[in-house]
């Protein structure tokens, strides 16, 4: 029961004393992000100059709006970097399933990203349902599901059902893999 009141109270504790270690750590990442945004703006401004303008355009060509967006991006990135340097912290972002005090689990993020990219490459080889089942199992494992067979079977079931609904009923183009396509070829 006491677990239920925990999120609120820890959040409040987190707020009052501006805790030094987390602040500095968060600030570096935020600063990098703001600088990258400004860099994107510079890229937009530079590359906009390289957009070919057809001779017939007498008024506003394809460069004007990119210049506008690029300028806005540079200014926003610079201001944000400045404010982050002055100690501005991002508002805490809530989600029902997020533990605000947990350290970032980079391993889970990496496993999910790799599993997803692998499934993207496998779709045309082994079919969407099987590729998705493998991805499902890897993601569930990274998030702490027990076992590996059960997640895989659940993923396979989800993949097959979704494939049948979307391909057979809605005519969406998805490679089903040799087995599934053979088994369902009669309807």
């Amino acid at each position: 029961m006491d677990h239920q009141t925990q999120p609120v109270s820890t959040r409040a504790d987190d707020v009052r004393p501006v805790t030094e270690p987390t602040t500095t750590k968060r600030n570096t990442g935020e600063l990098v992000l703001a600088v990258l945004l400004a860099a994107l703006g510079v890229y937009l401004l530079v590359d906009a100059g390289a957009i070919a303008v057809p001779g017939s355009t007498n008024t506003l060509g394809p460069r004007f709006f990119p210049y506008l967006v690029g300028g806005l991006t540079v200014v926003t990135g610079a201001f944000l970097a400045l404010r982050v340097l002055r100690g501005d912290r991002a508002p805490s972002d809530d989600s029902e399933d997020v533990d605000p005090d947990a350290p970032t689990d980079w391993r889970a993020v990496a496993v999910i990203a790799v599993a997803f990219l692998a499934h993207a490459l496998l779709i045309n080889v082994i079919g969407w349902p099987l590729a998705v089942a493998l991805m499902f199992a890897a993601v569930a494992w990274a998030l702490g599901a027990v076992g590996i067979v059960r997640p895989f079977l659940i993923g396979l079931a989800v993949g097959c059902i979704a494939w049948i609904v979307f391909v057979k009923a809605l005519n969406v183009a998805l490679p089903g893999g040799t087995v599934l396509e053979f088994v369902t070829s009669w309807f």
Partner: protein
């Protein structure tokens, strides 16, 4: 024209096929509203490929059902899970959560559902009444006026709605950039495609929306997953009593009165009206001692405001083609998928479609009341899905929706790259919605800008030719500069104070709710 057209709309909406799609929409919408991690914006985005096979009326009726259903489902989550969810249901969670813990969960869910129904019905009626008038006013709108409206929508979504204006602008910039990638429609020149042929068609809306909402969210949750079993508060207990009804009906109506106008304004959104509704109910209540311990007024009012605002958002969408929320932006993309450009002419050129859509909202509301009162136990079961399976499943459907667009694995690689971007944005508190709105509204804004300046031969003063555009641009300027000026006046330490005020908000200290509601 209003009533006859609406009756015609009912005749269209009540065909078995359309009723089926309305039902499908509200069921899907409630499910995704209940499930943490996905929302109506992402669901509509995932189902955008359905526009290739369905006729427009059926698809849009389904999308509208998802939109309304998501609002109903969200209240169930915020009442029965003891963690805050999306910002517009935080206020519902404050009192609703306390009610559920005190064994009054059933009554809290009931007042939320009935309040949503009352607000949704009244607000949809207002939508039907207001839309023709707005169209009459807007029919003479110029390209410059439209550009001004787009600017104020950008500013509002980026700076007024979020808690950090600069981060909202940063997100908007990313969206505008993504919208630029591809081939310029007017001159046919490639822009920012990096020489990759697949990018010359632009980055698909589905891929961006699914990446930022679904993949980014899944990665963010994965990085900080709340360990242990999911704790759902029991929703048993007595249903609404007569006393509960007496205490609820006024907050329902007041919440509707707050929600609809805020939603309908180009600078709208559901957060401000829910804050205002909560603060008002706390002032007007005859049971101030209940607030903070589970006051039913504090659930009824904000929940009604939330739903009325959702209907209000459809006013600028259907009459001006101006999306002011992420879901509205994606519904706009669905219209575009059918070659329909929402705008002042929509009601005349596509009258039957729009009226069938509005009529289906009434029908959907009734379905939602039935789905959410007797069947709430079914939805509660959804809350208990083990999180590893939930997020793995979300990624499966992200893959399905994005791959279905072009059947190109490269889209899935772009999806993951943008998903990582979404993860970083979530991690550092950048709101995601402005990026989606920038992506979809950006090209429309550019088009109108260039049309306006083509007429004037490149003279920039053409942008402020009409009184309408002058006023709207001025308002946008105030909204853009206002927060920064305020911060300068209040001094440099404003930010920790803001955070602290947020903390107080959750502890229900004194009157801080009112001020932070206005500051949003």
């Amino acid at each position: 024209m209003g009533i006859d057209a609406l009756l015609g709309g009912f005749a269209d909406a009540i065909t078995p096929v359309n009723l089926l799609f309305a039902l499908l929409g509200v069921v899907l919408g409630t499910a995704v509203g209940v499930l943490p991690g996905i929302g109506p914006a992402m669901t509509v985005a995932l189902l955008l490929p359905a526009t290739y096979v369905l006729e427009p009326t059926a698809a849009l009726i389904m999308f509208a059902g998802i939109y309304y259903g998501g609002m109903y489902g969200g209240s169930t989550t915020s009442i029965l899970l003891n963690t805050p969810g999306e910002s517009s249901s935080i206020m519902t969670a404050l009192e609703g959560n306390k009610m559920a813990k005190a064994g009054r969960g059933s009554a809290a869910l009931a007042t939320a559902a009935i309040g949503s129904f009352v607000a949704g019905t009244i607000a949809t009626l207002l939508l039907a009444l207001v839309a023709p008038t707005v169209v009459d006013l807007a029919i003479g709108i110029t390209a410059a006026d439209y550009f001004a409206l787009a600017v104020i929508a950008f500013v509002a979504v980026a700076t007024v709605l979020g808690s950090s204006p600069l981060r909202g602008l940063a997100s908007l910039c990313l969206g505008l950039y993504l919208g630029l990638v591809g081939t310029d429609v007017i001159t046919g020149q490639e822009r920012f495609t990096l020489g990759i042929p697949q990018l010359s068609d632009g980055i698909d809306v589905v891929v961006v929306a699914v990446a930022l909402f679904a993949v980014g969210e899944s990665l963010f949750v994965a990085s900080r997953l709340r360990k242990g079993a999911v704790q759902v508060i029991d929703h048993k207990g007595s249903w609404m009593t007569k006393e509960d009804f007496r205490r609820s009906w006024k907050p329902w109506l007041r919440g509707t009165a707050f929600g609809f106008p805020f939603g309908a304004l180009p600078a709208g959104g559901a957060e401000i009206p829910t804050f205002l509704s909560y603060a008002t109910e706390r002032k007007l209540t005859k049971h101030p001692e209940d607030f903070g311990k589970g006051a039913i007024e504090g659930v009824a009012g904000p929940e009604a405001a939330n739903n009325a605002a959702a209907a209000g958002v459809l006013v600028p969408l259907l009459t001006l083609g101006l999306p002011t929320s992420a879901t509205a932006a994606i519904i706009l993309a669905a219209f575009q998928g059918y070659g329909i450009q929402p705008g002042p002419t929509l009601l005349t050129t596509e009258g039957p479609l729009v009226w069938a859509l509005i009529a289906s909202l009434f029908i959907g509301n009734v379905m939602l009341l039935v789905l959410n009162l007797p069947l709430v136990g079914v939805w509660v079961k959804l809350l208990k899905i083990p999180r590893p399976y939930l997020y793995a499943g979300i990624l499966v459907f992200a893959s399905l929706g994005s791959f279905a667009v072009n059947a190109d694995p490269l889209d899935l690689v772009i999806l993951m790259v943008l998903g990582l971007l979404g993860f970083v944005m979530r991690r550092y508190g950048w709101p995601v919605a402005p990026a989606v709105i920038g992506l979809i509204l950006g090209p429309i804004a550019e088009n109108n800008l260039r049309r306006a300046l083509a007429i004037s031969d490149g003279d920039l003063s053409a942008l402020t030719d009409t009184w309408f555009s002058r006023i709207v641009l001025l308002l946008a300027l105030v909204a853009l500069v206002g927060p920064f000026v305020l911060r300068l006046v209040k001094g440099r330490r404003a930010t920790p104070e803001e955070v602290q005020r947020d903390g107080q908000l959750e502890h229900r200290d004194d009157e801080s709710v009112v001020t932070s509601g206005r500051d949003q």
